[in-house]
């Protein structure tokens, strides 16, 4: 019987914890205050071998073992949530590329990732579609040299900082809204233009500005996979990794908020009682609620990550044999996606409950700008809003529970609710 983490998972947990404590945490307040991009943190993650954790071993990675990646994200988020967010958006770009890339592309785009030399970003949302990945307005126009893309992507984590953007666009002007092709676009292309400076309520170091792809000429060698296979690739390899690592991020953030609050109540002594706040029953009850909430989410997320490691590895086998499209629909039917959607809803709503209570435990001290709990409170707020937002996910979960097709299946068949 295997109890707990594997040696490999334990090793990455320890490595990520060390990086978070020694490198990320000391920089986090300054990054938040000044809105600086988390470049130094990303470099530290790369130096410590974590940029390509989910890359199969044959391309220099650790294998498709998603729990290690989730745990690493959870630990990194305890040092700096902005850094962890850039890590999430980098990591979720990797497997669609691995699944569909040519041998030349694998050498160029994947092997250097395992060596920490490339930072990716995924840029999918558009003004017209928001969280609806199955409805993309922008499209690629094919020409003799490759493709021309005009697209406005509303949110791109690491905008202006990543080396490449993985973008889905419709395969042609006449293609249906979910018939997508994936491209890796170099950030050094002058036609790729980040718009403005990121100035969010929280997650202030992740440069999540829009990016304009302005008459962008893209060589065929930067197309990932066949034309029109983008949506199955995203559903099989991007969405699961994104939702799991994002959930790991908010789990880590909740853990950190809990730890900050517990430290506070152990140290804070009122002159009249001469006892730490931790001695109060009401405080103990708050802390217990935090722990139960966090542990329940962690148990679910880890279990789902183990299952998805297996399923994703199986889908990778099918993708490598060019059989992915035929199988992805069956995965919708089996509802593998739903267990990940539930993880995101759980983690991003749990973190709001936890930071709110942790804030209460820290009292007025936490309300001052610069207190860690104040930053965590703002960082946590992004989770439920991030695409797919929790209301969209709830709709998907509810539809399936009621025996209705996924929204994109309903859209493609023209079925009415």
């Amino acid at each position: 019987m295997k109890v707990g983490l594997t040696l490999q998972q334990g090793r990455w947990k320890a490595t990520a914890r060390r990086v978070a404590r020694e490198i990320l945490a000391p920089m986090a307040n300054e990054i938040d205050r000044e809105g600086k991009f988390v470049r130094a943190g990303i470099e530290a993650i790369g130096t410590n071998g974590m940029m390509g954790l989910c890359i199969p071993e044959e391309y220099g990675g650790q294998g498709i073992e998603l729990l290690s990646t989730v745990i690493a994200t959870e630990e990194l988020a305890q040092g700096c949530a902005s850094t962890a967010m850039c890590y999430v958006m980098h990591t979720c770009a990797i497997l669609p590329i691995v699944a569909a890339a040519s041998p030349e592309q694998l050498e160029k785009f994947i092997r250097p990732v395992a060596e920490g030399k490339i930072l990716y970003s995924v840029s999918a949302s558009e003004p017209g579609s928001g969280a609806h990945l199955w409805h993309v307005d922008s499209y690629a126009e094919k020409n003799a040299d490759g493709y021309v893309v005009n697209a406005f992507k509303s949110w791109a984590t690491s905008a202006g900082e990543s080396d490449y953007y993985l973008i889905p666009v419709r395969s042609s002007a006449t293609a249906p809204a979910d018939e997508l092709t994936l491209f890796l676009v170099s950030a050094s292309d002058p036609q790729v233009q980040p718009v403005g400076k990121w100035d969010g309520l929280g997650m202030r170091g992740n440069s999540s500005t829009p990016v304009k792809f302005n008459n962008c000429h893209i060589a065929a060698s930067q197309r990932i996979g066949r034309e029109s296979i983008g949506f199955p690739l995203l559903i099989a390899f991007n969405v699961p990794v994104y939702l799991l690592t994002l959930s790991g991020l908010y789990l880590g953030l909740a853990q950190r908020a809990r730890d900050v609050a517990v430290e506070h109540v152990k140290k804070r002594i009122h002159a009249d009682t001469r006892n730490p706040l931790a001695n109060l029953g009401v405080v103990q009850r708050y802390v217990a609620e935090l722990d139960c909430d966090i542990e329940a989410t962690r148990a679910y997320l880890y279990e789902v990550s183990r299952i998805l490691s297996y399923l994703t590895s199986m889908l990778m086998e099918l993708a490598k044999a060019d059989l992915l499209e035929k199988i992805v629909d069956r995965f919708y039917q089996e509802d593998a996606l739903l267990i990940i959607a539930k993880a995101k809803v759980m983690a991003t709503e749990m973190v709001l409950r936890v930071v709110n209570k942790a804030f209460q435990l820290c009292g007025g001290a936490g309300y001052r700008r610069g207190h860690e709990i104040e930053r965590l409170y703002r960082d946590a707020r992004a989770g439920t809003l991030m695409a797919p937002d929790n209301d969209t996910l709830r709709e998907i979960i509810g539809r399936r529970a009621c025996g209705l097709p996924y929204p994109w299946q309903a859209a493609s068949t023209g079925a009415k609710d």
């Binding site: 297996y310 399923l311 199986m314 086998e317 099918l318 044999a321 059989l323 035929k326 069956r330 089996e334």
Partner: protein
């Protein structure tokens, strides 16, 4: 003919006729043991040269690369395409022992066989 035995031989024919499945067999030559826990049935499947070449009753003569264990009915349903093997594994209806990559490959080809 016991139900599981017949199902496995039918599975062999289907695999060897299916070009999509045979794509998955490239470079994979395992010895697979199928063990029914509710009866005295055990079969050895030998994959060689992109086909399921041989099925014989009893345990593998050489060390099995992959061992699949479960009740006869569950195993039959998997090899008849009525039950998704990945789901059966997650739900604890079967156990698979062996290298993880072999387990994944076996699940993948069963899935493709009944879906394509």
């Amino acid at each position: 003919m016991p139900e599981l035995r017949g199902t496995l031989f039918n599975f062999k024919d289907l695999i060897n006729k299916n070009s999509s499945v045979r794509k998955l067999l490239v470079g994979w030559e395992p010895v697979i043991e199928i063990e029914a826990l509710d009866g005295d049935e055990r079969y050895t499947l030998i994959v060689r040269d992109r086909s399921l070449e041989e099925i014989h009753e009893g345990p593998a003569q050489q060390a099995g690369t992959v061992t699949v264990r479960g009740n006869k009915q569950v195993l039959s349903e998997i090899f008849e395409g009525k039950l998704n093997p990945a789901q059966a594994l997650i739900d604890g209806q079967i156990e698979i022992y062996g290298q993880e990559k072999d387990m994944i490959k076996l699940d993948a080809l069963t899935l493709v066989l009944w879906d394509v």
